[in-house]
């Protein structure tokens, strides 16, 4: 009798403990949801961008190693994000301010969504035998990352606006409006050759570094702390 009673107690305790589980993270700020803090969002975003840059660097170095042995022979690549004005040194970046910096980040991220997808498709088909299987997977990965990062930074901007840190001048930026189509050959929906592959990888490596750097500056100007 006592044994049965003890078993019942134990079961009840277990059930209660399982009920008190972790609170789900809600994306729309629903009631009762646990939303991460701004610092957490910053950390996540910076981590994501750092990883993205790492993968793109690997892809680029692989490509250069196997396809173009000497980088000095490469012509001057043109990136389709050439039109986006980005600060190129520290003073300019600091002078830009948070709102503009956030806008630049969002623009960059928006400009790379489609091209990376095209790159992945081209690499997976790979009629030129430039890439192996793992490289095309990486291309897919960074393509997904760009999309996620863009959403994340947008949410972060919203949160910053809510907390008063960010002004209201940052509006929604559409991808088509950012990039002048003339300088971007990839919107031709044609097939990409090796040169195109190389240019894309080269340009994205640089832009991902910019994104990461700008996010770090943004974080350190918004939330100065130990990590800066």
């Amino acid at each position: 009798m006592l044994l049965i009673w003890c078993a019942v107690l134990i079961l009840a305790c277990l059930e209660l403990s399982t009920r008190v589980g972790t609170a789900p993270i809600c994306s729309y700020g629903q009631a009762g949801c646990h939303t991460p803090s701004l610092a957490d969002i910053f950390d996540r975003v910076i981590q994501q961008s750092s990883r993205m840059h790492g993968i793109s660097s690997d892809l680029h170095s692989e490509f250069e190693q196997y396809f173009f042995p000497s980088k000095n022979l490469i012509g001057k690549p043109k990136c389709h994000t050439h039109g986006i004005v980005t600060p190129a040194d520290k003073e300019n970046a600091q002078r830009l301010g948070r709102e503009q910096l956030t806008e630049v980040i969002l623009r960059l991220l928006g400009a790379w969504g489609d091209p990376l997808l095209q790159l992945y498709r081209s690499m997976s088909q790979d009629q030129n035998q430039d890439f192996n299987h793992y490289s095309s997977n990486k291309a897919l990965e960074i393509s997904d990352m760009v999309h996620e990062l863009r959403d994340g930074v947008a949410k972060m901007a919203e949160k910053m606006k809510l907390s008063g840190v960010l002004g209201n001048t940052v509006g929604y930026i559409s991808p088509e409006g950012l990039v002048p189509s003339s300088s971007f050959s990839f919107y031709k929906h044609g097939e990409l050759n090796s040169m195109d592959h190389h240019d894309l990888l080269y340009c994205f490596r640089r832009d991902s570094n910019k994104i990461k750097n700008y996010l770090q500056i943004l974080k350190c100007t918004t939330l100065p702390g130990l990590d800066c």
Binding site: H53, N72, A93, N209, K210, Q216, T221, D227
Partner: protein, 538 residues
Amino acid sequence: MWRDLGLAVLVLLSAAVESNSTSPPGKPVLLSCRSPEKETFTCWWEPGSDGGLPTTYRLYYERERLEGVHECPDYWSAGSNSCFFNKTHTLIWVDYYLTVVASNALGNATSDIFKMDVMEIMKPNVPENVTLLVVETEDSPYLHIRWEHPRNTDTESGWVTIKYELRIKQEKNNKWKEYMSGTQSHFSLYSIAPGGVYTVQVRCKLDHGSWSEWTNSTNVKVPNYVQNERSFWILVATLSAIPFMAAMCILIVKRENVKQCVLPPVPGPKIRGVDFHLLMSGQSEDSTNALIINQNFPLIVGWKDQMEEYLIVTENDIGPPSDASHCQKRKKSLIIPAGFCSDWEIQCKSTHIQNDCAGGTKNETGNFPKNNKSLSGESLSYMEPSKLQKQQCLGQNFVNTEATDPSPLNYDNAVKPFTNSGYVDIRKHVENTQEVNVKQVDYSRVEDVNGDNVFILNNKNLAFNSSGYMDFQRQEEKLSEDYSRVKEVGSNNVVVLQIQDMSADTKNPHATGAHKMGVCTELINSEYIDTIPAPPLM
């Protein structure tokens, strides 16, 4: 003319020699460029041969988003054969195309184009002020390592992210152990060996750039005190273990004594009057007789170191007992343990009287009572009190003594050898011995007591019981018996007994008095008590 021609040839030759040592410069090579903090950068080249003439080197660069060809802004800040680009001339995420041109009087030489992006050439300076500290906590000490970011590096604006790495080596090993520190400029190393010397080096990198050089080695010695403390306790434990071990050894060596002390032997059961050894030796007759006899007269047996002398004074015409059976029967007499002692003048000594019925031996003279006159070779009567406090009973005292020698008195003296007791068996016999199935025994009947003398007048042969004690027992009801000391033996088969007035607790060997009746007192100081009911005389 020939002389002029020779001079001309000489001049031409000298000119030719001179012109062979000069040449346009060799092609310089751009080695590398480096940006320590992502705000400036420096490039180095290696000059080719200078061709024997003074050669100048110039660096030209083209840059993305910048029109025209520009020259290096600073040739001197970074040393020779270098070009330093300061902050205003440095842009990140743009491509630079560099060339170096070497020129001398005879010509130029241009290096290959060197394409670079500042993002790719980042390599910071070494970290600075590496300090080591041994933090001594209660449980265990640990090593705390601190350093500072390299000079000129701005880590606060977020423009660059520095990551650190350190490596630690113990003095004995030659192997470095590497640890990542992330963005922290301190590190703690636990589980350090006391007394060890540790060497630490730190390096860092910016973003995804290259690692810097390692710092110079910094050493620290961990103090040994923790080990001393431990060794102190080890010493204490060892010292305390030595007396403990000694005690254990002593205990083991003396384990018998310890056992006796802790677990004393439990005395086994003992039956009074039964000689265990006698039992074991198989003389069952004696033992059973002893048991039977022991009803009223507890018997202590087994006292080996004291012989019991048993005197049976008989008075009869029968010669010295020659048959063994007779003797044997006489053996069955009372045995008084040797514990009896009296303070008489009779020496309380144990005598060993051999009863050799076959041969006959002389009685040992050890225990002749003083007052007894020793007969010369005749039947003697002496008692061997032997720590016996005799009770003296008057009345019809019979002293039964035996002598081995043939006596003119025709005493049948047989001295029974018994263990460790002196004892006079005064056997009573009744005239009507037919009541009891007794054998013939020689007894002398005390006819009269006069004063302190007992006169034995009768020389009757009295029945002797097969069991002396039995006889005694049966007879005791009829006669009040006492044990008397034979004073002297007369020539006419007269034994003079000395009556003693004994009390239970007084040791008065010479107390005499007129006693009509024997006083039978209990024998004291012995386990053997003659409970002879006798009217107290006193």
